[in-house]
Amino acid sequence: MKPFTYERAETPAQAAAAASKPGAKFLAGGTNLLDLMKLQIETPTHLIDIGRIGLDKIEPTPDGGLRIGALVRNTDLAADPRVRTEYAILSRALLAGASGQLRNKATTSGNLLQRTRCPYFYDTNQPCNKRSPGSGCSAIAGFSRQLAVIGSSDACIATHPSDMAVAMMALDALIETVKPDGKTRGIPISEFYRLPGKTPHLETTLEKNELITSVLLPAPLGGIHVYHKVRDRASYAFALVSVGAILLKDGSGKIALGGVAPRPWRNVSAEKLIQTGAKEFTSRLLEGARPTQENAFKLSLVQRTIEGVLTENRS
């Protein structure tokens, strides 16, 4: 790791203000940031530890929703009784990811902000437009089996690795933030992640030094909650394809995909086709897909997984 100075923030406001220091980054759990710092992919010169600024609560909101603090650990979020009963898709998604040790340390905001595991992003000997803008994309003509089939560009085909984010996309989560000047705002998760386009190094719509304070879930929808993750191993592996689904009594549903795109992939207007059938729905959902030869299998894998989820969970 490159040398850095370190401070422990005491409040969200103080953390956001401290972030204006050049080369500063927030440190929450650190399970992704420290991994990248050891490889010198991330090179902050100043770390602001936000582990103890009081953002570790899960609280109900007046309209029946749930506000999840940015520093809530993944284990605690998955195990929360309200999440398990009313937002089970979120619990299932969290439990499908990482390992027990990682879930105990990783946080809500860190999970949203974690970076791709594309092997070329990780290999600092290889050209990578995300890591070094303009250097090229080694993945497009390389080993791309695990990478994106949709939402990608000629500059980058990296996927977002988070399971939690897929569930939050299906749940229409709102990401709440505070800026250094103290102003707060809420960013719908559907507007939080940027697609790579020509600038794969820009991953979210957060402004510089903007701190995520919480994630807001709307009032529970009921219905059947499923998170089906297809991967090479039974545990402790990233998704090739994952399907997060909320299936409601009236036959409608909300479905988001993981493992196939630079962000959780959802198409709200396509969801009216869920009742028509998996084939029609998947076809709309994956319209415009540009897979590589190595990952084209994901297109039929998505359809079959959605078919399975719908068949197994329809009464």
């Binding site: 040398p3 100075t5 440190l27 050891k38 770390l47 195990a79 299932r92 040790q101 545990s235």
Partner: protein, 239 residues
């Protein structure tokens, strides 16, 4: 001036090597210089040249290159004992435990949170100590394998690992034991897992649950089935 001296010194070493080489050639395979000595001699010669190139031809004596290092302080509790440390900010909890506190039971397997050999308990929770900065643990209570039990006073999980042959090389074992101890607590506390059929309700120790919950601890020797047996015994589940 220094440059000249250096060249002479390097030459002297090369000459020594040459003499030794000739000695080897003449001797037809008996005694003489070994490959190891030859390589060591060459390396010294190359190093001598390299070091002096760095310092150039100034008259001043060579000084080491110093990378500025940031330090900070932290205090926490390890195995019941209070510690107060000042170290490079980059020091992970794993490195503080092993290098500064000489608690070498916890192992560095991958240093990237993928193998679980570095698992320790922090405030009762298992984490990968390689992906945590020591500085993040102000006032925390940390238990390493040394605090789980000792040869004179084994933890039941340690006895069970011995009884059920739960290790071969032993490298992953401290992490396996710390993790397994924590898994039993997690099950008791009702924390669900990926394989739990019901998200709510009491969690049970089953082989499937144990294997899922331990998926962050890998074992190249493949002692998995014996580890699972050991944990099952401690959990009071037989068969």
């Amino acid at each position: 001036m220094i440059g000249e001296l250096v060249i002479k010194r390097a030459s002297k070493i090369s000459v020594e090597c040459e003499i030794k080489n000739k000695h080897m050639e003449n001797e037809n395979g008996s005694a003489g210089i070994t490959r190891r000595e030859m390589l060591a001699g060459t390396a010294v010669a190359v190093t001598a040249l390299a070091i002096t190139r760095v310092t150039g031809l100034e008259a001043a004596p060579a000084s080491p290159i110093v990378t500025p290092v940031e330090s900070a302080g932290v205090s926490f509790n390890v195995n019941g004992k209070a510690v107060d440390l000042e170290m490079d900010t980059r020091t992970t909890l794993l490195d503080v435990l092993r290098e500064h506190l000489h608690l070498t039971g916890t192992k560095k397997g991958c240093d990237h949170g993928q193998c679980g050999a570095c698992t320790v308990l922090v405030n009762g929770r298992r984490i990968n100590s390689c992906l945590s900065l020591a500085l993040q643990h102000q006032d925390d209570s940390i238990i390493t394998i040394e605090g789980i039990g000792t040869p004179e006073n084994l933890h039941p999980m340690q006895s069970a690992f011995i009884k059920h042959d739960g290790y071969q090389c032993g490298y992953c074992t401290p992490g396996q034991i710390c993790s397994a101890v924590a898994v039993l607590e997690e099950i008791k506390a009702g924390v669900p897992s990926h394989v739990s059929t019901e998200l709510m309700g009491p969690m049970e120790f089953t082989n499937a649950e144990f294997r899922e919950r331990m998926s962050g601890n890998i074992c190249r020797c493949g002692a998995y089935s014996n580890i699972a047996q050991a944990a099952a015994e401690v959990a009071g589940v037989t068969g």
